[in-house]
């Protein structure tokens, strides 16, 4: 078992109001899985991805990654873990706008203090792997959306991480480019056997995954939309208390 989540909660205080982004999530993820996390906006799927990627610590519960509880790790260890075990792909690509495609890929190797020559060689190889060898010297603004996301994928893969975490990787792309990118991710997943966790609200993207889970109001659902009624009840209850006050 790669991940084991037991009763994981995450609470934020937003505008003096407490928000339960994750509300008792129990989840197990096997090595080599292609997991799609679905849910509507504000359902907590990005928060869950942050927890899985060691970007943030849960407020409660137990989050084991390879037997280590991420909830109990310090910032330094989390940073170390991120640089070795995870590759991130973001909806907005999150490339450094002033650096070339090649240099953007190299940024992922900076925490490893890799020698400059080795760093360049590996980055060029990763770019070749996503079919962008000839665009290495271009800065992001000179690349199309699909190309930028490929650079981001190369950046995520260059360290050969155990888990690739993608947050709405095709959210900013047109349908054809979306198909390309998902095709590429699927191919890499098949070839390398890495664990791939994708947050998406795109049903087509989710349909490519080996397993799908749904989040609604911070809770895991067996089936999509199962929590809808409950949410509406809750909403009504809140509206009524507000009206009474």
């Amino acid at each position: 078992m790669l991940y084991e989540l037991t009763d994981v909660t995450k609470r934020y205080t937003q505008r003096r109001k407490q928000v339960n982004a994750l509300d008792g999530v129990d989840l197990a993820i096997d090595e080599g899985e292609f997991l799609a996390i679905q849910g509507s906006t504000g359902s907590g799927k990005t928060t869950l991805l942050q927890m899985l990627g060691a970007m943030d610590r849960p407020s409660g519960g137990k989050l084991d990654f390879e037997g280590r509880d991420l909830a109990k790790m310090g910032e330094r260890d989390l940073s170390e873990l991120r640089s070795h075990s995870f590759g991130f792909i973001f909806q907005g690509f999150n490339l450094i706008p002033t650096l070339t495609a090649q240099e953007n890929v190299e940024t992922a190797l900076v925490p490893w203090h890799t020698h400059a020559d080795e760093r360049r060689r590996r980055a060029a190889e990763a770019l070749g792997g996503v079919g962008l060898a000839d665009r290495a010297r271009h800065i992001p603004s000179e690349l199309s959306g699909g190309e930028q996301q490929r650079v981001a994928i190369a950046r995520a893969l260059v360290r050969a991480p155990r888990v690739i975490l993608a947050d709405e990787p095709t959210g900013n792309l047109d349908e054809r480019t979306r198909d390309d990118i998902i095709g590429l991710l699927e191919q890499l997943w098949r070839e390398r056997g890495q664990t791939l966790i994708v947050v998406t609200h795109d049903t087509w993207v989710a349909s490519r995954a080996s397993r799908r889970i749904w989040l609604d109001a911070g809770r895991l659902e067996e089936q999509p939309g199962a929590g809808r009624v409950e949410l509406d009840d809750q909403f009504l209850a809140e509206a009524m208390t507000a009206g009474a006050a």
Binding site: T46, L49, Q50, G53, M55, D56, E75, R76, S79, E80, R82, S83, H84, F88, F90, Q91, G92, N94, I96, P97, T98, L99, E103, E106, T107, A108, V110, P111, A116, R119, R155, D167
Partner: protein, 481 residues
């Protein structure tokens, strides 16, 4: 990677980078210009003091004459009898400098022996009045016609001829001339009235000259009287050979002629006496103590230190000095604080706009230290640019100050001015010196300026880095740009 990233970022945000650098530059430039200006004023002040006072002198001692000792000087001439009418006359009188009493050489030795005194020397300055002319010839038979010569009560020091109001007397002009002579210790010329003198031709006096009848004359006097080295000047009837012509700084209270002290003492009947003592202290810190010691030794003496003298300097130089001290310093500090604040705010706002960028790097496993280092690095490069521009602007500002500032006037009200009314010559001791203001930019100043710019960049970078270090990697996932 570090430098690539730093330079790419600065190039992308070149406007903001330049703005931040300019913010630092303006502060630094003001510091350079104001400091250079203050240094220039200080230099001008030193120049003035040296010209008034002599190089290396820390304290001067003189003793004021008692009131009753001054008064009309007599030339040993009786109202002429009828028989002398139309006859020529030529009389001189030697006086030690009006308003100053002589001090015995033992006092000088005592002062020299005081703690904290590294050197002391005395000089005897005197004025030689010369009246030359013809006795008036009365036109009428009136024997009571006052001879004009008697009205030359001389201490007026006026060199104008004494053609006074006796209209009825027919008279040829009577010339009253005045010559100032100083006797100096030929064995110790490094201190005293000749310390700032430069030999223009001939030679200076040496200890071998102590009993010789030799003289140094000032350039101005030499020119006025067409005297050259090797020439002979009669002082009170005695012939002195001119061995050198000296130039003294503008505005200095110089005599016309310098002769060995022993001869000055002989001419003025002041054996073993001086009327001005020059003291050099061991260090600047003991000057006040030495002054107190001298005061104790000679309660009636006027003891003046160079700082007393500096405080007596008035005029535009003094105003400039006050301006440099008060306004300039605070202006520079205020400008520095403002420029540091501007640079810090700009840096923090730049970091805030790169929340997602730094968040992403943190998500990739960049340590907080590395991200802070990146922000600091960018800031330091801006600091270097700011230093270069700032030093350039500062030097330009200093040059402009030097080029366009008016010549400064310094007026030194001499203490002797409050002395005996008879000593009108003292009035001329209120010295006015004109100096040109420079604004020297030293290497040290440039180093300090560069240091300040870098310090400002460091402060700004620290603020920016602090902001960046507080970012969470999860910020990389923010949807907002």
């Amino acid at each position: 990677m570090f430098f690539t990233y730093v330079f790419r970022e600065l190039r992308r945000r070149h406007r903001q980078a330049l703005l931040t650098a300019m913010g630092l530059a303006v502060g630094v430039a003001l510091v350079v210009a104001v400091t250079a200006y203050a240094a220039g004023v200080g230099k001008a002040q030193t120049q003035v003091l040296q010209s008034l006072y002599g190089v290396g002198t820390d304290i001067t001692v003189s003793q004021q004459q008692k009131m009753d000792q001054s008064g009309a000087q007599k030339f040993g001439m009786q109202p002429p009898s009828q028989s002398k009418q139309g006859q020529k006359f030529n009389r001189s009188r030697v006086m030690t400098s009006p308003g100053q009493q002589s001090i015995s050489a033992t006092k000088l030795a005592q002062i020299a022996a005081l703690d904290g005194v590294s050197d002391a020397t005395g000089s005897l300055s005197m004025t030689i009045m010369n009246v030359q002319g013809k006795f008036a010839q009365a036109q009428s038979g009136s024997s009571s016609a006052a001879p004009s010569a008697s009205s030359q009560s001389s201490s007026s020091g006026s060199s104008s001829s004494g053609s006074s109001s006796q209209a009825q007397t027919q008279m040829s002009p009577i010339n009253v001339s005045q010559l100032s002579v100083s006797g100096v210790d030929t064995a110790d010329l490094a201190l005293g009235p000749l310390s700032s003198a430069q030999v223009a031709s001939g030679r200076s006096l040496t200890s071998a000259d102590s009993t010789s009848r030799v003289a140094l004359i000032t350039k101005a006097y030499a020119k006025q009287n067409s005297l050259a080295v090797g020439g002979v000047k009669k002082i009170d009837g005695k012939k002195f050979t001119v061995v050198g012509i000296v130039a003294l700084p503008a505005g200095s209270t110089s005599s016309d002629i310098y002769i060995p002290l022993s001869w000055a003492q002989k001419l003025s009947d002041n054996t073993n006496k001086v009327n001005q003592i020059y003291v050099k202290a061991d260090s600047a810190s003991v000057i006040a103590g030495v002054k107190a010691e001298i005061k104790q030794l000679m309660p009636k003496a006027t003891v003046t230190t160079s700082s007393d003298l500096a405080s007596q300097v008035s005029g535009s130089l003094s105003s400039a000095s006050t301006l440099a001290d008060r306004l300039g310093k605070w202006l520079a500090i205020a400008a520095l604080i403002a420029s540091f604040a501007v640079a810090s705010l700009l840096t923090v706002s730049a970091v805030s706009r790169r929340v997602r960028e730094f968040g992403t790097l943190k998500a990739l496993g960049w340590k907080g230290r590395r991200v802070v280092g990146q922000v600091l690095g960018e800031s330091m490069v801006q600091g270097v640019i700011g230093a270069v521009i700032g030093v350039g602007l500062g030097i330009l500002g200093a040059k402009l100050i030097a080029a366009f500032s008016p010549a400064l006037k310094a007026t030194l009200a001499s203490a002797a001015q409050n002395g005996p009314p008879g000593a009108q010559q003292a009035a001329s001791a209120a010295q006015a010196v004109t100096v040109n203001l420079t604004a020297p930019v030293s290497l040290e100043l440039i180093a300090v300026a560069v240091g300040l710019a870098l310090a400002g960049a460091l402060v700004a970078g620290a603020f920016g880095g602090w902001r960046a270090s507080r970012l969470r990697p999860a910020d990389a996932l923010r949807r907002v740009d």
